[in-house]
Structures are given as C-alpha cells and as structure tokens.
C-alpha cells in the first residue's frame, strides 16, 4: 500500500519549476513528489472515517503544484507533507477494514470539517467554498483534502474524511463517471451564472468542456451562441458534441465574437462582445482575450486557476467589466454534477488511468492531455 507525498523541499521545488518550464509535467520526476508507504492517519474526531480511494483524478491545480507554478498565495493554505488528490471516488472503510459505501469526496475543508463552532457566515449559508476559517480549527491548513497533511489525499490507498464531505453514489454510476463529479461540480458552480446571453468559454480542457456541459445540460434559455475556444482536434470535436454553437481557435475568437454580436471594432477592441466570458485557462493571454471580447458591462468569470498575470485594465475600467472568481462549489453542486454527468455520458472524458507507481507517466500524460487527444487522467487504485 502506497501513497504519493508532496513535501516541502525547496531545492527540489526549484528543480521542478525548471523541469516543468521545459516540459509540462516533468516536475513529477525531479520535484518534491515521491511515492511512499501508506501510514495510518489519526482521525481528528471519532466521527471521521477512513476512505479507500478507487479512482482519483489529476487536476490542473495539481499539475501547477507539481511543476512549481502554483501561486505563493497558497503557501499558508497548504500544510506539508501532503498527499495530493481531491477528485476522489472511494469506498468508506468499515471498522473491520472492509469496504462500505461508495462515495464521492467533497474535498473542501470548511468550518464543519475543522470542528469550528459556530460556523462562519459563508458555511452557515452553505457556501463552503467561501469558508472564512479555511486554515483554522483542529486541522492543519489546507483549503481542500489533497492539500492538507492531516487528511491525506486521493493519490493513495487510504485517506480520511469527515462525514460531511461524503456524497453517496448511485449504484449505476460507474467509478469512471464518479471521478468526474468533483470537477463537474466546479463547472456546475460556474454555469450557475449563465444567463442565456452570448457566452464565450475560453479553453476546452477538462474544465472548459465540463463547464460547457454544465451549461448545455441544464439551460433551455439559450438566447445567444456559446462560443468555445479549443486548440486540439479532439477538444473541438467534444465541444461540438457537448453543444457549443461555435468552436474555434483562440486566434479566431475575436472575429467570431465580433460577427455574432454585431460588433464594430476600435483597434483590437470589440465595441460590443459577449455578455459572459468564462475563462477556463487562467493565463495572461486568456485573460487579455477575455477582456478583448467581453461586452461593456459584461462579466469575466475566472474558472481556471490563475496565477501571476499581467493585464492592461483600462478597458475593464472604461467598459465597466467585472472580473469574478469562481472557486469550487457547494454540496448541492455535487448532486447537480451527477445529473450533468448522466445527461452527457461524461464518463467518456476519462481518457486513461494509471497505477500510483506509474505516477510520472500519469502526470506527463495529464500535462499534455490536449495534445495527446485526452481529457481527464486519473490514478486507479482498484487493482491493489
């Protein structure tokens, strides 16, 4: 029984940063991520349970961490060493060590998981993603399971979780579908702001495709086109299948938005644009493009995790554009996510699984998923 562990090792972290810059995902082989034997984590309180992960996905935020590109903002929100993996489908272990209920993990470590009473205002309102006590209580800092030294993470054969973090899975939902629940819940949370007006989704990686799926699965009030930018052929095909009206490259985007919104142009800036731009990339380039194609008074929603970006914000000021973050989800979004997954048969987005021991290959695959015609890569612990 083993687990992957990410430790605080500055020299290896620096090495990962260099390697990751040369080849995305290469930080896995030279950085502070290593495979170790599982060790029994103490339960913070008696009501916590032990989980045996079945599948655990590799997320963009994991890759940023492994390649050393994650923002320093997270430093106080993470406790080392930790086992990554927050997209988890797992069995709850019974007292005798046998497998019990099959669950999806809600990884956010909010007030209730941290034993904080009374709950913060956000948690009291069910908005666990906005928890105001995310680094406090009886747990070490960690905004989610998979970033906290006390809870362990999905890239292992055992981790622990608070009962409030568990969502029971319907028997007919496969593990392959269930491992997509967590990212789909993020997408459902993003899609809740969809208004039916013309919408642009930047990026057709996992988040972009799931956000598109979340919008098209539940909204019959589409008044304007949904335009998706995609770089690779398979991404384009999937975006079309999931209901995009237009799929184009990012180079082509301004022209598509201009013509579909009957916009004029002043320099490179559209005079109209899309009311809603969902940035699922989070790079300087994607955010620049978001500001280029968003309508005056419109909203740019950051679903992809940005880091340090450099932006010219004059147009934001002049056109009264809002930039809004979009992090995680509520419990309700997990149930919505199951509906979305069923509606679009999203298990097909799980492109490949790897054993934990093949973690360098798995991470290299995930880091070049688009180019290799893949979407979601996951670890598969069911064989052991």
């Amino acid at each position: 029984m083993s687990r992957l562990v990410f430790s605080r090792k500055p020299a290896r972290f620096a090495l990962a940063r260099v390697a990751g810059a040369i080849m995305p995902g290469a930080g896995a082989s030279v950085g502070p991520l290593a495979i170790e034997s599982d060790e029994l984590l103490p339960l913070p309180t008696p009501d916590w349970v032990r989980l045996r992960p079945r599948l655990a996905g590799i997320c963009g935020s994991d890759l940023a961490l492994i390649d050393g590109t994650a923002s320093a903002y997270f430093d106080p929100l993470v406790s080392y060493p930790f086992t990554p993996g927050h997209e988890v489908v797992a069995d709850v272990l019974n007292a005798d060590g046998s497998a019990g209920r099959r669950v999806a993990l809600v990884p956010v470590l909010s007030c209730i998981t941290r034993g904080i009473d009374p709950l913060c205002t956000a948690c009291a309102a069910g908005q666990i993603n906005l928890c105001e006590r995310v680094a406090f209580g009886h747990l070490q800092p960690g905004l989610q399971s998979g970033f906290c030294s006390d809870t362990g993470g999905g890239w292992s054969h055992e981790m622990i979780a608070h009962p409030s973090q568990l969502v029971d899975l319907p028997a007919d939902l496969s593990d392959e579908a269930a491992v997509l629940i967590e990212p789909t819940a993020c997408a459902a949370h993003a899609a809740a702001r969809y208004t039916g007006d013309e919408t642009v989704i930047l990026g057709a990686g996992t988040l972009g495709l799931l956000t598109l799926a979340a919008i098209t699965a539940r909204n019959g009030n589409r008044r304007g086109p949904i335009v998706v930018t995609a770089r690779y052929a398979e991404q384009k095909r999937l975006a079309k299948e999931l209901g995009a009206d237009v799929v184009c490259t990012s180079d082509e985007l301004p022209r598509w938005v201009r013509s579909s919104t009957k916009s004029l142009m002043i320099g490179d800036q559209l005079t109209c644009g899309a009311r809603h731009v969902i940035d699922c990339v989070g790079s300087t380039e994607s955010m620049k493009q978001a500001l280029q194609v968003v309508a005056p008074g419109g909203e740019v929603q950051l679903v992809g995790m940005p880091s340090n970006v450099s932006l010219e914000l004059t147009s934001l000021w002049h056109r009264e554009v809002a930039i809004r973050g979009c992090y995680a989800y509520s419990h309700a979004d997990f149930h919505t996510a199951i509906d979305i997954i069923r509606h679009h048969d999203l298990a097909r987005l799980l492109s490949a699984t790897y054993a934990l021991s093949d973690y360098t290959d798995a991470i290299a695959h995930a880091a070049s998923a688009g180019r290799r015609g893949a979407v979601k890569i996951a670890f598969d612990m069911r064989g052991n």
Binding site: V246, C248, E252, R255, W256, R258, S259, K262, S263, L264, M265
Partner: protein
Amino acid sequence: MPRPGFVLEVDRSTPSILFWRGENFSLEKLPAGRSRVIYPPEPLEALSDIDGAIRNALLNPIDQDPLATQMFPGMKLTIAFDDVSLPLPKMRRPDVRQRVIEAVLDTAAQAGVDDVHIIAALGLHRRMHEYEMRHALGDRVYDAFHGRGMLYQHDAEDHDNLSVIGTTDHGEVLEINKRAADSDLVVYVNINSVAMDGGWKSITTGLASYRCLSFHHNPETLENTKSLMGHRHQSALHTSVWRLGQVLKDHGPKIFQIETTLNTDMFPSPFEFINKREWEWTAKDRATFLGTTKSLNRTPIKLARKIFHGIEGPHQMTSVQAGETEAVHKITLEHVHRQQLMEVQGQTDILTLGIPFVSPYNPDGVMNPVLVMCMGLGYLFNMYRNKPLVREGGVVIMTHPCYRDFNPVHHPSYIDFFEQVLSDTTNPAEMSRKWEKQYAEDEWYRHLYRTGNAYHGVHPFYAWYWGAHGLKHAGKVIIVGGDPPTVRRLGFTPASTMDDAFEIASDVVGRSPTITHLHVPALLIADVQ
C-alpha cells in the same frame, strides 16, 4: 506579325513547362503522349496613335451623335470608369482611363459643361487608395476634381444616393448611383480585359447597389453561367445583366459607352520569360528564370509581393470604340476575340492551372485562399467558349502556396468567411442560404467598405460563387504546393508535387488521363470544339 495561339502536344523532347505558384514559379514535366499545352496568341500590335484613336471614337461614335454634340452648358455630366481590378498587372502610365477621360473632359470643357462628376464604378469592390486613383486617372484629373468633391468612388450602400430606374420582367430591380441616374449624360470608360466585361455589365454592376447585384451575383445564376467568357446565351449572368441593360436603356439616363481593348503584353523585363514558350527560351531567359526563382525562394513573402505588385505591364491599347452600348460592345468583343480567341480540339481529363500572385480582387494585396479558388475555378476555368476545357467530372489541378494569409484592410470579411463559412460549408447555395444575409448586413463590414478600403461584406461569397460552375463541373480539385489545412478548408485536396497530384487524380480519371495545361499569364479564350 504576332503568332496565333498554339496547342503543343507534349512529347519526350518537350521541356518542362512554366507554372505560376503565387509569388514564384515552378517548371513541371508533363507526361508525354497525352498532355498538351495551350499557348495564347501573341500580343497584337498596339494602335499607333492612341490619343488620335480616342479622339476619333468620340467624334465618330457608333449609333450615336458625336460626343461634343451631346454636350451643352448647364448639363449634368457623369463620367464613370472601371476600377483598378483591371488590367493586371497595372498598366504603365499613362493608363488608358486617364487618356480617355482627359479627352472626354476636353470635349466637355469646349462645350461649356462645368457640372461634371467622375465616379469610380466599384460595385462592391474596395475603394481605391489615392495612389491607385492617381495611377488610373493621372495627377491632373485627380487634382482638379478630387479636392472639389467631384471625383469620388461609388458606394453601393449609400441609400440616399441610389436611385431605382425600373424593374425587369423577371423582377430584377435596377438600382444605380443617383448622380448617374439623374445625369443628362453618363459617359462610361471601360477597359475590356476579358470577354465577360463591358456592355451593360459596366453600369449595371459598377454603379449598382448590393440589392441590384444580388439578382445575378448568386449561386443559381453563376452555376447556370455555362460560359462566362463565351456566347451570351450560355451565360445566365449576362442574360440577367442584359435584361437590366434594357431597363437602363428604356428608363435610365443617356449612356455614351467608351470601350477599349488591350493586347496581352503583360510583363516587362526581366519577366519577359513568362510570356514566352519554353522551348524558345534563350540562355538569358533560363538564367533569368533560375535567378528569379532562387531569389524569390529566399525573399520574404511580403517583399516578394511588393516586387510583383510593383510590376507595371507594357500592355497597350488595340482598339477604342464609343457610342451606343450594345453596338459598341459587339465591336469590342470582336477585338477581344482577335487577341484572345483560339480553337482547341476537344476536352481533357485533367486541366492544370498555374495560379499567379494576383487576381482582379487583390490588386496590391494578398492572394488569399478564397481568391485562389476564385482565380482558378472562377476565372481560368472559365476561359473558354462552347464547353469547358476539362470534361465534366474531370480534375482541375492548380499550383499555388495557398497560404492562410489575408489582407485585413482589403479583405476583412474574407477572413471571417474562411474561418466561419468555409468551416461550415463549401456549397455555394448552402452558404448563400445560411450566411450571406449576415455578412451583407454586418455593420462593421459596411463601415469598412464605405469608409476604408475593404471589399463589401458579401464579396467573398461572390468570389466563391464565381467558381460555382467550376466547382460543380469538376470531379476533384487539387492544389499542388498549398498549405494542406488551408487547401482542405477550401474543400480541395492538397498535393506536394505535380506527380502526386496526377496520382491522386487517377482515382477520378484513371491511370492514363489526357492533360491540358493553360499557359498563364496571357489571356485567352479556348474555343473548345
């Protein structure tokens, strides 16, 4: 004495044949025993006294009174002229338009006419840049008229300055430039580069509105235009245009049509080898060819473009006739045929075409992929009378780099057309139904057409429709040397070499097809028997 056109049967001793490839050339070996090369007639002698011929045409018009007697003080005179989409390449100064318009203005001045407007008959073409207007009209005319607002470019979207003349019995509405419609006399100054130009087409397209043009510039009409350069009855486009011409004749202003024809002496030194037959190349021609192609291989594309668009053709006037439109045009066509018409026996399985750097829609601009299609299937494919050079279901092979490159100033809607429309459909009727209206009504395209130097929003559709008959007629279209994704977006098949193209074509026309190469650049009309 210039030699007539010539059809060379390719045998083992035939040298490699020159093909245009955009801003460069290649020499291609055609299979012996089943290939032929059509060389156009050599350039006719130019008129010895061009200005004298122009004066004579104005003094002795056909089926009309002399121009001077039609002019009187206080009259409203409008002179309209063809834009710089022709001739190609642009002609050495003085341009024919300048010579003719100066003569007309002299006549008007002598008659005491001072209300004179000069209008560039653009249709939906882009507005010309100042240097292009100066080139076409000369500095004297430009300086005298432009500053006073009496020289300007037609605007097919200026609804305050368009006027409906009438409607044909087929429901086609003739709507033209209001100034022309309200004039006592419209003098139209034409250059008839190819047989489809001139006649009633001059005013009913050059000074028409989008609405008027859409009656004949559409997929149905152009698919049924079985011979764009040949007999009028084979051209649905010209049949429609002639109906509109009848409305113009019956209800419009008085027209004084001046038509000119040019010889095909198109390229000056050091590009003379282009006009020659390969087996007659001298050592100097070979050296020039080698030097040119090798240099162009190393020249950045923008610079190569600049070099080619800087060429001024020596072409000279071979005729000028004036007077009543139809009578004038009949004689014009005789002169065009004298220069360009040649008999060719039978159709071929494969037609090969070298696509040059320029078409009528990219003077001083980029030959974008849509224009490659238009030039190949819209223009060169149509250089025939009676029946196409290639048999129905045959293969058209073009050579061009077919780069995904556009001039954003001249062709903004072409970029969107390539990205949006062609990724959806290459079928002319389907794109017309699904997309044309959106492009026609796009405020941004309208703005750029009216105030900038952009082709009208629907122009890429028209360029595509121009090839509609060729597209329907050909069983397969292959582009040699083109950027593969771009070629595929056009709906065509890419090939890296001519041999590869013949191999690919064998799926359609078998292993031993007949091949015909149309030796461009010189213009010709193959009278296919």
